[in-house]
Symmetry: C2
Subunit: 331 residues, 2 copies
DNA sequence: AGACCCGATGTAATCGGTTACAGTCAGTGT
DNA sequence: ACACTGACTGTAACCGATTACATCGGGTCT
């Protein structure tokens, strides 16, 4: 249907090889011929077919990104980081997203194979076997937020970030610090909880299971957790939500209960999503360099693309404590 | 490098055609042979090459998205809308972003050609010729936020939205309403300004050029505009920023000048970005269904993919006034 | 003058699949 | 016994590019 190189060649009275040479400046061509071909291509509105080019050159100049779901600031941010790095390398981005279910992951992987030179995969629970079975061994893969044997990975130091926050709260004098944790199966949620516990121990505060409230990373669950929080006796003076969404939900819950933040309760989150600085009081949180994760993952993938023998690296990015108003440190 | 179908065929002692038939269930194959091929493919970790399949079937099941830049809530939101719709149709998304410069746009377009079945293009100023010259005539294209002859488009009704807001402010009793407008060349910015002017006229208020402050859609320019705003005499009682980013900048500026919002000045924005509901006071704004734009654009593209003879449609989505606290309507 | 080099161009193989067409073979109806 | 049918499988063309190799002609060097 679309115009092909063959048609251009015929119209210009030359062979396809010559046309190709002109278009890619890949060989000597007489100036007159060159002009004629260019003119013909323009007239016929010829645009080379990317797929065909990919096939012959067996390179796509594309990095595939597989994400579990596209909703939430988190994934937008990842995409931004990835796209920036990809574009800087003059590559392209092929995006695929999958929701729950093992079949979905496989489907997502397979649609990417052959169409990308490397892959950035982010999925709450990826197993090495699934990757192995559905990807050619030669395809560089970097896993985001988790480690998988044999592949590169970029992760954040959840435990250290959570520990820093808990240490900060303890340093402000809080002795009863409640935690709204994330969904149990989630690796990030577990690491944050562990970091929190460890910091408590270091501060000489006995971790108390009663102070660990259940949450699932949604704003609604943060709001719901305030009920449990208020039922605690004596009431903790600080509430640490394992992510910002839950912290914002909790903020609403606390406010509705007539409590002042940070006056009555110090509140902290985790992630530093964009809205964190805009809520009132501005949320003290742990900054997670999400876009940088994406960028690093891309760098790692492209490194492997260029040098297939390079050893996949496992990177752990540090987080940063962001003290704003909700914890009362500056009020 | 990767395992090909040919190798699987050899190992299984059959022809490539049979392998293809098994993998796609596209023809009768003996049960015993079938199992043998499946086993062999699994053992060799064969995964079909997407590019090659695309080439022969001349269909990619992919929708390309061309965006001007990936920063800002706006584009994230577009991507979300697009991805959701694309996934629902069991298609894939190929993302390309371009920054300024005509060469960039052309580059972006060309990387997509042949690799997608349809295209959603969003760029502040696209010209019909550029699209025509760099895309095969047969490729369905839908333009986002602007109209281009011969292509489908999805746009929002900027003028009506701005008019609604200005009408709302006038209805609250404001007689001097300042506008921080967007960059002059931007079509959205112009439409919003025009809607504003028209609503003023309808309300019997003479549009006053002195009340139109320059901005460029950035938060910084909104902040900067407050200086000009404060210099107006008599000071207007309402400030309408042509987008939320500028409104938030202005909010900061007004607060620093010791003015209360909405007590001293009613403030309104446009876009309803996610943070709009979280700033204090919550921002009154015009909701723009960004993700829906993306979804509609995809629907339009896929419609054209399925029926190449369908007439491209020009869709204009309505906006919705969102009254929160910053305009004083509810205080 | 003959060997040689180089620029300009064409021929054809190739990438990894899909698929139209053709062939084989066993079973069936007459 | 013969033509026919249909399930099963293979051969080879094709998708639209890239590119190794071959060809050809004129200019240069000795």
């Amino acid at each position: 249907m679309a115009v092909t190189m063959r048609e251009v060649a015929q119209q210009a009275g030359v062979s396809v090889a010559t046309v190709s040479r002109v278009l890619n400046a890949s060989g000597p061509v007489g100036e007159e011929t060159r002009q004629r071909i260019l003119e013909t291509a323009g007239r016929l509105r010829y645009v080379p077919n990317g797929t065909a080019r990919n096939l012959t050159t067996s390179t796509t100049e594309t990095v595939g990104v597989l994400l579990p779901d596209l909703y939430g600031d988190f994934y937008s941010e990842v995409i931004r980081g990835v796209e920036g790095a990809v574009r800087a390398a003059r590559y392209h981005t092929l995006l695929a997203s999958v929701h729950d279910g093992p079949g979905e992951l496989v489907r997502g992987l397979r649609t990417l194979v052959g169409r990308v030179d490397g892959l950035v995969v982010m999925s709450p629970d990826i197993e090495a076997d699934v990757l192995r079975a559905n990807l050619p061994a030669s395809l560089p893969v970097v896993v985001l937020g988790g480690e998988v044997a044999g592949h590169g990975s970029v992760d954040i130091d959840d435990a250290a970030g959570a520990a820093a926050m808990t240490r900060h709260l303890a340093g402000l004098g809080h002795r009863r610090i409640a935690l709204v944790s994330g969904p149990a199966p989630n690796a990030d949620a577990r690491a944050r909880r562990d970091g929190h516990r460890q910091a408590l121990a270091e501060a000489g505060l006995a971790p108390d299971p009663a102070l660990e409230l259940a949450g699932d990373f949604t704003e609604a669950s943060g709001y719901a957790a305030t009920a449990a929080f208020l039922a605690l006796s004596p009431r903790p003076t600080a509430l640490f939500a394992a992510n910002d969404a839950m912290a914002i939900g909790a903020l609403r819950g606390l406010r509705e209960a007539g409590l002042d933040v940070p006056g009555d309760v110090a509140l902290a989150g985790f992630d530093d999503v964009p809205v964190a600085r805009f809520v009132t009081p501005a949320l003290t949180t742990v900054h997670v360099p999400i876009d940088e994760m994406g960028a690093r993952a891309v760098a790692s993938v492209l490194g492997a693309v260029r040098d297939p023998d390079s050893v996949p690296s496992a990177l752990t990015l540090p987080t940063r404590l962001v003290v704003r108003e909700s914890c009362g440190a500056r009020s």
